[in-house]
């Protein structure tokens, strides 16, 4: 009997758990450890954040799904890895601390044969003084609860606008190293759409504050599209939308601190500025969860297992090299730890070898460039492929992972909502292939010009709605779920 332990039940961890359970016989055990009782379809949090959806529409309890799927669920957080086992037992283990009401704080040492670290990001609001909803001065849409709070604050601003007061809304990222600019973009345009729907757009100033060098970068270095016989860029395309909807943008910015009603930032050229706001939704930077690692003797080996940002090192090329020497082959393929072949890191939890966008710093050394996104479709694909590898290692005795999922050989579909509504909604529908550019294979654009596309329209909004229902159906492991691709 083998035991597969999966840390985290987000998109990658939950996908891996369902697939590995499906592929293993009943004699094998699959255990999911997650501090959260509910699963959250995070892409729809932006609609919760503008009051168009409720928490119930984007979350559901995990326990009944896992009970039905014969997956052992522990509502707990991982605090330490023992990949070589401990003095009593050489089998790898993970120390978990329960968050389940009634067992809160209780520890358990969980032995494993295979471990998948899919713990996702730690929302690092602490990186910027005053950032965030918990004791800070801004809101977030990173969790459903955060999005509910954002919607409440937004409604307060809407009411002031309806009373004739002018309001300034700042939406974007709260640190120079943030990722998920796409989510900030979506929220900015959904808010703008709501303002128009409520008839108060003329009294509101909407400002998008970002660490991107250019609009349309989205942390993937931008995209090149072939449209109407011309090559065009995601920059031009995105700028057009900003100009059409009269959303102002502050680019290349690192937020230094957020005070009540005021955000202070510096830009890549060294200039410093501040913005007064009535509403600020600023996403936090991410770092790895607070996990330690120990060898059998109890020596701390965290720095060998994890990158300085706390993400798990996997089979990537982490050697430091300049942007010009970055290669598609730097990116991991199997997501196995180089030191421990039964330990995997997927989704946001794996350490990328470097960003995708060109890295940039101020003269004083402040990094202002997006971290690479690895959410949504790539996360799900990693989960599925790592699950297949582990199943082959258990069922067929494969000596090494049999499936790969390099982001340099993986496409992604991204639907960025720019306003909700079945008749009046809009979304930017983008496909890109591959996610990590490969100029050696695809020329200067770095990506296939036939498979990298973008368009704006109501159809994109329908697609986002369809994906919302489809992926929640899949995550609930309803009949036929395995046929729905990631």
């Amino acid at each position: 009997m083998a035991r597969v332990v999966i840390l985290g039940a987000g998109i990658s961890g939950h996908t891996a758990a369902l697939h590995v359970r499906r592929q293993l016989g009943k004699q094998h055990e699959v255990v999911v450890v997650s501090p959260n009782a509910d699963w959250n379809w995070i892409p729809s949090n932006i609609w919760v954040g503008v009051g168009r959806m409720t928490t119930k529409q984007v979350t559901f309890p995990l326990a009944p799904i896992y009970r039905r799927q014969k997956i052992d669920f522990r509502q707990a957080k991982a605090v330490a890895l023992w990949p070589e086992g401990d003095a009593q037992n050489p089998q790898g283990a993970v120390d978990i601390e329960y968050t389940l009401p009634g067992r809160t704080g209780e520890h358990e040492l969980l032995r494993y044969d295979y471990l998948i670290n899919a713990t996702g990001p730690k929302l690092n609001f602490a990186a910027t003084p005053g950032l965030g909803p918990d004791g800070g001065n801004s809101v977030s849409v990173c969790t459903a609860a955060h999005a509910v709070e954002a919607a409440d604050r937004l409604e307060h601003v809407m009411q002031k606008l309806e009373q004739g007061q002018r309001q300034t809304l700042v939406i974007g990222v709260g640190h120079g190293t943030c990722t998920c600019e796409g989510a900030a973009f979506e929220y900015a345009f959904n808010v703008e759409h709501q303002l128009r729907t409520r008839g108060v757009r003329d009294r509101a100033e909407v400002i998008y504050l970002t660490n991107e060098y250019e609009l349309g970068d989205f942390g993937v270095g931008g995209m090149t599209f072939a449209q109407g016989g011309f090559l065009t860029s995601s920059q031009l395309w995105t700028e057009s939308l900003f100009r059409e909807r009269e959303v102002k943008a502050i680019l290349r910015a690192h937020v230094q601190r957020v005070e009540p009603g005021k955000v202070f930032y510096e830009t890549l050229d060294g200039a410093e500025g501040s913005l007064d706001f009535d509403f600020a939704m600023l996403l936090p930077p991410f770092r790895g969860q607070d996990l330690q690692a120990f060898d059998r003797a109890g020596q701390d080996i965290s720095s060998a297992l994890f990158a300085p940002n706390g993400f798990l090192k996997v089979d990537a090329d982490y050697s430091a090299k300049p942007f010009e020497q970055w290669q598609a082959s730097d990116w991991p393929r199997t997501y196995a730890s180089p030191n421990y072949p039964n330990l995997f890191g997927i989704g946001i939890a794996f350490a990328p070898p470097h960003p995708i966008s060109r890295p940039r710093k101020t003269a004083d050394g402040t990094v202002i460039s997006p971290a690479p996104p690895r959410t949504g479709m790539p996360s799900g694909i990693m989960g599925r492929q790592v699950a297949a590898s582990i199943a082959d290692m258990i069922n067929k005795g494969a000596p090494a992972p049999t499936h790969t999922a390099s982001m340099a050989e993986m496409g992604a579909g991204c639907i960025a909502s720019a306003g909700a509504g079945l008749r009046r909604g809009t979304a930017a529908s983008m496909t890109m292939y591959p996610v990590v550019p490969d100029p050696d294979k695809y020329g200067p654009a770095g990506r296939s010009l036939t498979a990298t596309t973008g368009e704006l329209g109501l159809a994109g909004h329908w697609m986002k709605h369809l994906l919302h229902h489809m992926f929640i159906y899949k995550a609930k492991a309803r009949p036929g779920w395995a046929f729905i691709p990631e």
Partner: protein, 57 residues
């Protein structure tokens, strides 16, 4: 057609962009039900192609 954003009071602001703004016809097309139903099919096809390419590896 909206004018270009005015000169910036904020450091780093996107002061001016020459990006084209859509015509009224383009905006209408973006919400035209028959056309968007067709585009929905096209986007679905593109998504499926992206998935197919990814799974070839």
């Amino acid at each position: 057609m909206p004018e270009s954003p005015p000169a910036a009071p904020y450091p780093g602001q996107l002061v001016h962009t020459e990006a084209p703004v859509p015509t009224r016809r383009t905006i209408r097309r973006r919400t035209s039900l028959p056309l968007q139903a067709y585009r929905f099919g096209a986007i679905s096809w593109k998504m499926l192609q992206t998935i197919r390419r990814t799974h070839q590896h």
